[in-house]
Symmetry: C2
Subunit: 258 residues, 2 copies
C-alpha cells in the first residue's frame, strides 16, 4: 500500500464546496471518481479541510491509500486529463504510511481578495468581493493586530457550527493594497467554520470606520457572534496552502490581476 | 438626442461572442436589453468590433443614440445593477452626434495570455491557453518583428471570412514573460477575422522551433492560410482597448495573476 498526497487547485465557483454532499458537484467527489478510475479501486480521500461553496483553493491537500503502481510524478498529468477544467492536481507526493492530510496539518494560509472600486469588474467577479466604499487600510491593520495571537475565537464562528474547542492561534495577518486590489492574508494553526470570512467582514467594518480598532478586543472577549461584522462572501476566499512542518515561511501576499 | 459611448468589460467564457446571434447569449444583447430597460426605448447598439465566443474584453466600446436624460456619470452603476455578473460597463461618455464606435476607431490593442507550465491550472483556465511545451521567447520576439508593419495579412485570416481589403498595419507586438505567464500584446489599426489568434499560433510554432523566425516573411507573402500556424484558442484573448485618437500611448503589457 502507498500513501499518496495530492496538492489540489480549484475554482470553487461551480462547486458546492470540497466535501461530498447528497446534492451538487463537490471537489472531493471529482477527485474520488478520477482516483477510482486510475487505480481501479474504491478509495477514501482524506482532505486537509473543507471549503464552502464558491471558495477557491490554490493549495488544498488530500491523501489516499492505494495499491496502484502508477509512478507518482506522472499522477498529476494523468489525473488532470480526466478532471474537469475547474480542478487540477498540481503535485503528488508519496508519504509515510501514517500520514493524514487533515490530522498532520499544523497550519493553513488563506487569502481574501477585495476589489475596492466604485464600478464592479466582470473579469474578477468570480475571484473577489467588490466593495465600493472607501476603506482606511491603516485602521484595518491596527485592528488586525488584536486578532493575532491565541484566543477563544467563538465570536468568529458561524452559529451553524458546534465545534467545542474554539481556541485557535492566528500567527499573522498581512493586509496589502495594490491599486484597487486589497489582499488580506491569514496564517493560523487552524480556523473555525467561517472564521476567516467573519474576520474579514469585521475588518471591513473597521476600514469604513464603523468599528474602532480597539473594539476588536471586546468583540473577541464577548464570545458572541452578533458583536462581529458580517460574513464576507465566499468568492473572495482562497485556501492558499496547508502547512505540515515547522519550517519558517514568509506568508507573503497573494495578489490577483495586473 | 444624445450619443452615448460605453466602455465595456466582459468575461467571454459563457457568451457566444459580442454580436447578437439567433442562438446563445451575446454581450450585445445583454447591453441592448439593459439600455432598453433604462431608456424605455428601442435602441441600436454600435459595437467597435465583434469578439468570438469565449474571447474576453477589458475595453470593448459601443455607442447608442438616446433621448433619455439620465446623468451620464450615473449610467455605469445603473447599468451594472441590471447586467449579469460577467458583463460590466466601466465608463460612459457623451460623444458628438456623428461619433460611431466602429467607424471612428483608429486602432485596437489585444492581449493574448499563455500559461506555460507542465501542469495546467484550474484557476486561470478561463483566461489563458495552457501550453506545456518549452518556448524560446527570443525566437518569438525575432519572428514578431516580421509581422510588424503594413502588410497584406490574408495568410492570417480565417478562411470563413470574405473581407476584401486584407491590408492592415500592425504597429507593435510586445512579448513579455513573467514566471510561467507569457503575454503577447498586439497593437494595430485593425485586425482581420482570427488574425491575432493565428499570429499567436504561428509565433508558438516559432517558440517551439518548428518555424524559423525568418520564415514569417514567406508566410505573409504566400497569402495562404495553410502556411501559418494553428488558430490559438479563444480563452487566451482579450480586447484590451479601442483607440480613437492619435495620441501616443505605451501599449505596455497586460499580465494576469500573481
Amino acid at each position: 500500500m502507498r500513501n499518496v498526497m495530492l496538492e489540489i487547485e480549484y475554482d470553487g465557483t461551480d462547486f458546492n464546496g470540497w466535501q461530498i454532499q447528497p446534492k451538487g458537484r463537490t471537489v472531493e467527489k471529482e477527485i474520488m471518481k478520477v482516483v477510482k478510475k486510475i487505480t481501479k479501486q474504491e478509495v477514501k480521500i482524506f482532505g486537509a479541510g473543507r471549503t464552502d461553496a464558491k471558495v477557491h483553493a490554490r493549495g488544498q491537500t488530500a491523501n489516499f491509500m492505494t495499491e496502484s503502481k502508477i509512478p507518482i510524478d506522472r499522477l498529476p498529468k494523468v489525473m488532470n486529463r480526466l478532471l474537469p477544467k475547474d480542478v487540477s492536481v498540481i503535485k503528488a507526493l508519496e508519504m509515510p504510511k501514517n500520514f493524514n492530510a487533515r490530522y498532520h496539518a499544523i497550519g493553513k494560509i488563506y487569502s481574501y481578495h477585495i476589489y475596492n472600486t466604485r464600478i464592479r469588474s466582470a473579469l474578477i467577479s468570480r475571484y473577489s468581493y467588490h466593495y465600493p466604499a472607501t476603506l482606511d487600510i491603516e485602521l484595518m491593520r491596527d485592528a488586525a493586530q488584536f486578532l493575532i495571537g491565541t484566543h477563544d475565537f467563538r465570536t468568529f464562528m458561524s452559529t451553524n457550527s458546534n465545534v467545542r474547542n474554539t481556541i485557535r492561534t492566528v500567527k499573522n495577518i498581512v493586509i496589502d493594497k495594490k491599486e484597487e486590489s486589497i489582499c488580506l492574508t491569514f496564517e493560523g494553526n487552524g480556523f473555525l467554520y467561517n472564521m476567516v470570512r467573519i474576520m474579514v467582514g469585521t475588518l471591513l467594518g473597521v476600514g469604513r470606520e464603523t468599528i474602532e480598532p480597539e473594539r476588536i478586543k471586546f468583540i473577541i472577549d464577548s464570545k458572541s457572534r452578533k458583536n462581529a461584522g458580517c460574513t464576507a462572501p465566499p468568492q473572495g476566499l482562497f485556501l492558499e496552502r496547508v502547512i505540515y512542518s515547522e519550517e519558517k515561511k514568509d506568508i507573503g501576499t497573494f495578489h490577483l490581476s495586473s
